[in-house]
Amino acid sequence: MSMKTSHATFKERIDIQMQDDYMRQSVANAQERMFTNRAKAAEALGNWEQWREMGKEIRQHVLENLDYYLEQLSDKVVENGGNVFFASTAEEARGYIEGVLKEKKAKKIVKSKSMVTEEIDLNKAIIGLGCEVIETDLGEYILQVDDCDPPSHIVVPALHKNRTQIRDIFKEKVGYQGTNDPEEMTRFVRQHIRHDFLEADIGITGCNFAVAETGTVSLVTNEGNARLATSLPKTHIAVMGMERLVPTFEELDIVVSLLCRSAVGLPLTGYVTALTGPRESDQCDGPEEFHLVIVDNGRSAILGSEFKDILRCIRCAACVNTCPAYRHIGGQSYGSIYSGPVGAVLSPLLGGYEDFKELPYACSLCQSCNDVCPVKIPLSDLLLKHRRVMAESKLTPLGERAAAGFFNFVNARPALWGKTVKAGAKVANATIKDGKMPFNVGPLKDWTDSRDLPQPDGESFRSWFKNRQQTKGDQQKNEAGDHHD
């Protein structure tokens, strides 16, 4: 799956998604649970604002010195006996990984959940080589088995499916005979793909954070699949976005703590695994060969832009879990593997405005995302920046640009504005009856599709105030006059 997950238009996607009552209920429940869990975890830790501030500063420091830390990281990986490939593009990353697969004559690859491998469309390349690739994270496995259905959440990719849908998929595709009980289905997958881990030639993982000082790749997981994928196959390939690192283990503590609490509301997830190079020569399990693929794929352009703050992101999905727009349209509406506020910021940057131009507008600017982000990314401000870039490079509809131009022309001329307001009040007062206007087109229709118009209060305030001041003045004059008489 590449970053773009759909060829339908944004409007078509949200129309389909908003009909999906199960998905919407499920997302609403999930948001509430995850939001509450996150809030409780932050509260339990205490000093959350200090933690966030540290998280922000650590990530900021890394971005400002990224060339140094990547050099240190790569030197260290090689010193530890691993290999490092710097990939400027998705093609280069795929090409390198294909090379490793061919050299190893790999037949079977087990993967643990990784967004960046989705972003570079790695599975397609692997299958193109005639290899079998198994997504082993339960959520990703469900989606892969379901003909590569796109993910709807960064952390819980199959959030949009209910247990019965999942049972039916398993029944049809992998011969499952059991009930729709989540535990039974989970055990089935455990048994069903255990042999794949044992047979796999190569394990591919992402990287939550690399540690530059030691050449370590850390993985934050729950299911144990990432451990299997990095313990049993002879070769481990880790793919990381170039910004996903910290200087030392001291900073790793802070960012992992922020990630686990923000993503799942726990002090730590089931497994935090820190992998340093291939196994030592005297040990017998773990990979003999380790490859780290460091991917740019558009990130350096972001680093040099006004959007660089988004590179602090640690992919916890706290913003997704609080976003009221995401709540109603679900993840697949974004048409990108990255959904929610972070997806709306990141997708146009990595995939271009052409495919993702609507996403920055799918936001009421409520700023709830800014408040929960553990590394204090001003997501809502970045969405506004996107709108500005599109408006100023004329990517917005002509009618909208004309309307904005007209509005700004009037609004910058106080006398004209005053007249417009007075006239507007009269028109509104004369035409809005019981929440409706006699005509219902354009933005008016978009509004009245779900709500009525306000009942106007009569003349404009400014007319009233002027009259009042005049009356007051007259009274004062009269009073003064009376006094003199």
């Binding site: 500063e57 400002e64 030197d75 090689v78 490939f85 451990r227 299997l228 503590d253 002090p267 005297d282």
Partner: protein
């Protein structure tokens, strides 16, 4: 000197980063700013070993759905036997009744193998010299894997394992149940103290163990309807045995 074949495309990649950052390439270590706050150091600061142990037990039992047993050195073999036997009776399928024991000297010194065998356990002790296949096969058919933890984190109910010759990665991964043994003196408040040890190691120029695991309970997932299911690809059951060594 690094082998160029093992390090590809680096120069152009890093030059480009320097370019977008609008400055020359940074090749000297930047001043790493000290962490701004100490809130991570303050979590459970000043707690006694008993308080940390109680917190670990409480979190493990109530939040992780795992067992925590506090015992003494003298009782360890008995407690360990009982824990393993319980899992043998309590597992999903009947094939395989083995217990794989780490060869960690701290573990081996603390238990009486004969007592375990007499209790009815069939044991396999990890042996790297036998190679990958033999050890993997043993763990794949075993019901229980027993390991010795470097540290335990009270805040999150976490066992810290370093991969080592005597204790492979898969002992705590392939068998259905994991038993961790940790001395009370090794219980620390949180991840902060565990990463501090690793930072010290790094400063001393030592290579990190190739695999360090922070394990909190059995494996789990919430990928179906956000319902927590314990036991996915990793172990389904876990017991922490805390050795009262103080």
């Amino acid at each position: 000197m690094t082998n160029p074949a093992r390090l590809q495309n680096r120069t152009a990649f890093l030059e480009n980063i320097a370019k977008v950052l609008d400055r020359p390439r940074r090749t000297q270590a930047p001043v790493r700013p000290a962490l701004k706050y100490r809130c991570h150091q303050e979590v459970m600061a000043g707690w006694s070993p008993d308080q940390l142990r109680d917190r670990l037990v409480d979190y493990t039992e109530n939040a992780l759905g795992a067992k925590a047993i506090v015992t003494t050195k003298a009782q360890l073999s008995r407690v360990l036997s009982e824990a393993c036997l319980a899992y043998q009776q309590n597992t999903l399928s009947d094939d395989g009744k083995d217990v794989v024991l780490s060869a960690d000297v701290r573990l081996q010194a603390g238990i009486d193998i004969n007592q375990l065998t007499q209790a009815g356990l069939s044991l396999y002790v990890w042996d790297s010299s036998l190679g990958y296949d033999a050890n993997i096969r043993a763990c794949e058919r075993a019901k229980v894997g027993v390991v010795f933890a470097e540290q335990a984190l009270a805040e999150s109910g976490t066992m810290v394992l370093y991969s080592q010759v005597e204790q492979g990665r898969v002992i705590s991964l392939l068998p259905e149940a994991s038993v961790f043994i940790v001395p009370k003196s090794a219980i620390v408040p949180r991840l902060t103290q565990a990463t501090a040890v690793l930072t010290e190691k790094a400063k001393a120029g030592k290579r990190m163990p190739s695999c360090i695991n922070f394990i909190s309970g059995p494996s789990s997932t919430a990928d179906i309807e956000l319902i927590k299911v314990v036991g996915v690809h990793g172990p389904i059951f876990a017991t922490y045995i805390i050795l009262d060594d103080q």
